[in-house]
């Protein structure tokens, strides 16, 4: 083989090695990026789209006895309070997927959301949560705790939740459940989907 032949063989091999190295480096970078995404509560976003997180909202079980957690994509917010607003907006506006039951009275909207340093969250709702509530102790209990769990299940900084209506403290929504103090989550009301 001539000198020119050896030279061509050397350049070809070098090109192959460079390609292999480039391919390996690209694969590593891609894997690192996915790992980072999954560490922020499964936030996802393609170029030019809003990032989302998978949050847990709560609906009524088909037999009306318990809360069922359901995962929903909500926009990723810049801070925890704004994130709380996004989660509650989803809780209030999302229709219950069959066969689950909606627990939030129609027309109810979020007026404001606050979170104190002590971990007390305040959920200020529009008056429809009272005026459109169908009543009943269990129904009221599930409405209240759907909101309590929607906040505390998604925002670890929130330990207790107090519900306000139209900017004011209220006794109850429908005459039964005490809303004068912040409430802690009640795990006995939550049933995983599929369990009896």
């Amino acid at each position: 083989m001539s000198m020119r032949g050896w030279w061509l063989l050397f350049c070809g091999g070098l090109s192959v090695l460079a390609f292999i190295a480039w391919t390996i480096a690209r694969t590593d970078r891609s894997a690192t990026s996915e790992s980072t995404d999954s560490s922020v509560a499964t936030a996802t976003a393609a170029a030019g789209e809003t990032a989302h997180i998978a949050a847990t909202v709560f609906f009524g079980s088909p037999d009306g006895q318990a809360l069922i957690p359901v995962r929903r994509d909500v926009p990723l917010a810049g801070n925890i309070v704004e994130q709380g607003r996004q989660i509650l907006t989803a809780q209030l506006s999302e229709a219950a997927p069959p066969p689950y039951l909606g627990l939030i009275p129609a027309g109810t909207t979020l007026r404001a959301f606050y979170l104190t340093e002590r971990g007390d969250a305040f959920v200020d709702l529009s008056p429809e949560v009272v005026s459109s509530h169908p009543g009943g102790s269990l129904g009221e209990l599930l409405t209240v705790y759907a909101l309590v769990h929607a906040v505390t299940a998604n925002l670890p900084a929130a330990k207790r939740v107090q519900i306000l209506v139209d900017g004011k403290e209220v006794d109850t929504i429908a005459g039964h459940v005490d809303l004068r103090r912040p409430l802690t989550p009640d795990a006995s009301l939550v049933r995983q989907s599929g369990s009896k």
């Binding site: 009306g64 909606g102 009543g135 009943g136 129904g139 209990l141 039964h176």
Partner: protein, 500 residues
């Protein structure tokens, strides 16, 4: 309450007309605060009361509309509209007739005395009862039973019957020369003949406002009394034999039979540990209808219906006093409901409700008791309440534990849990359909302020078609009331047995 009620009288006060006559016996208002006379006047044979006096007595707002020739009374957002010379008024939009017209006389507005019970009472948040015969106006939760008596046979033995309505606990004791009937009441509406007959000399008011004294003649022996309760009245049958030949105040008419006090007469006295009062809360009311079915049945009416059935059972079969947190279509606040039970020193509070769900298949009764939070649990711990020592008349001090109103239930959590268990068991025994989880704990607003064992009962689901039919059926409602009554009987026995 004063701060919540505006008192504004815009009417000109003027002297009554010359032809007005003051009744011979004044009308008396009886309330938990005491007695006070109520000025009335008789015009054309009708007894009338001035709206200015109603405004001050009942803290209602009265406004005259000179242009319309009428007057408006307002109380907590509810109104009565009256027009001059018309024998009717509009009460919250409903026309109520009066026995005589509303009168504009001498610069004053005057209404028939019946206005108080037929027009004002429906919008007022306390009981207003007009007793024509005794000329008494009862306001609020005053225990003021009617007491009548007749001497049926002069004898000897002389027999008399004393009737107390509504049914009330009594204690009958014999003293030399008289029989004392002590009635569990604030005062007595006495309608008894002053003169007796046979061995009964006279029947008069005792030395305390809740005591009737039956005076005996010198030849009377030791009387015997039998107490029975029926048809919402307590009857005491008194038999006075002639004096026994065996002298001595301890001698008995019959050697084997107990004399007074009879077994029935050992009903609760105010200072005894025995039960005396039960509070029943018919849920919702007024504009708060609670759950409403597609057919229009409303929770507020059903709860009041069952509450009245339960009251009848308790009063007639246990002889206990029953206080309802509402006895008509009004909506007291949850604190006001708790206050009725707490101020009435009830031994038990039961709140009656009807459930609703967007799942039509959901059915069955549920019993709720308070789920304590950290604050309630802290109060529930022994010796955690603040205490103050107050001096008492005659020397010494009395220790008072101060418990925040909102945390009153804390000391009764164990008893309430027992009560809830018994309620579930008795409703099941009476074959009342029960929910999948018939016993639940939740932060129930009313229960938190109850200073006695308390539970909330959701009797059935109005949104379930089969249960809807049951709730509008007398047999089912009676069965539910009977189940709750049986639970009261069991819990009362347990409670008295385990009293400290």
């Amino acid at each position: 309450m004063t701060s919540l009620v505006a008192l504004l009288v815009l009417l000109p006060a003027g002297p009554p007309q010359a032809q007005d006559v003051t009744p011979a016996t004044p009308l008396t208002l009886v309330s938990p605060d005491g007695r006070r006379p109520v000025p009335t006047t008789i015009v054309s044979g009708r007894e009338l009361i001035a709206l200015t006096d109603i405004a001050s007595l009942f803290r209602v707002l009265v406004r005259e509309d000179a242009l319309a020739g009428g007057v408006t009374l307002s109380y907590r957002g509810r109104t009565i509209v009256a027009s001059a010379d018309r024998p009717m008024v509009s009460v919250d939009g409903r026309v109520v007739t009066l026995p005589s017209p509303v009168v504009r006389s001498g610069g004053r507005w005057l209404v028939p005395i019946e206005f108080l019970s037929s027009a004002l009472a429906p919008i007022y948040d306390q009981r207003i009862e007009w007793r024509r015969t005794s000329r008494l106006l009862l306001l609020g939760d005053v225990r003021f039973p009617r007491v009548s008596a007749t001497v049926e046979a002069p004898g000897p033995p002389t027999r008399a019957t004393i009737t107390i309505t509504p049914a009330t606990s009594v204690t009958v004791t014999a003293e030399p020369g008289r029989l004392l009937v002590r009635i569990d009441a604030d005062a007595l509406d006495l309608a008894v003949p002053p003169a007796g007959a046979g061995l009964i000399d006279r029947l008069v008011a005792g030395d305390q406002p809740n005591v009737l004294s039956v005076g005996l003649t010198p030849g009377a022996g030791t009387p015997r009394a039998t107490v029975t309760t029926a048809n919402n009245s307590t009857r005491i049958q008194v038999e006075v034999p002639p004096e026994s030949r065996v002298p001595g105040p301890e001698s008995r008419v019959s050697g084997s039979e107990p004399r007074v006090p009879t077994p029935e007469s050992r009903l609760p006295s105010p200072d005894s540990r025995a039960w005396h009062t039960i509070a029943i809360d018919p849920g919702h009311g007024g504009n708060d209808v609670g759950v409403r079915s597609a057919g229009g049945a409303e929770e507020k009416a059903l709860t009041l219906d069952v509450a009245r059935r339960l009251r009848t059972l308790v009063e007639t079969r246990l002889g206990l006093r029953v206080v309802l947190t509402r006895n008509d279509d009004r909506a007291p606040s949850l604190d006001e409901r708790a206050a009725v039970a707490n101020n009435g020193k009830a031994n038990l509070l039961l709140s009656l409700h009807v459930n609703g769900s967007s799942a039509p298949s959901q059915a069955g009764a549920e019993v709720y008791l308070l789920q304590p939070d950290r604050e309630v649990e802290a109060v529930a711990r022994p010796a955690s309440a603040e205490a103050v020592a107050l001096p008492v008349l005659g020397g010494g001090v009395r220790r008072l534990d101060l418990i925040p109103w909102d945390l009153a239930q804390a000391r009764h959590l164990d008893d309430s849990a027992r009560l809830a268990d018994v309620l579930v068991e008795e409703l099941q025994r009476l074959q009342v359909p029960m929910g999948k989880r018939p016993l639940r704990r939740a932060p129930m607003r009313l229960l938190a302020a109850a200073n006695m064992p308390a539970a909330l009962i959701e009797m059935a689901y109005l949104t379930n078609p089969a249960q809807h039919d049951g709730l509008t059926n007398d047999e089912f409602k009676t069965r539910v009331a009977q189940g709750i009554f049986s639970a009261i009987v069991r819990f009362r026995a347990w409670s008295e047995e385990h009293a400290p």
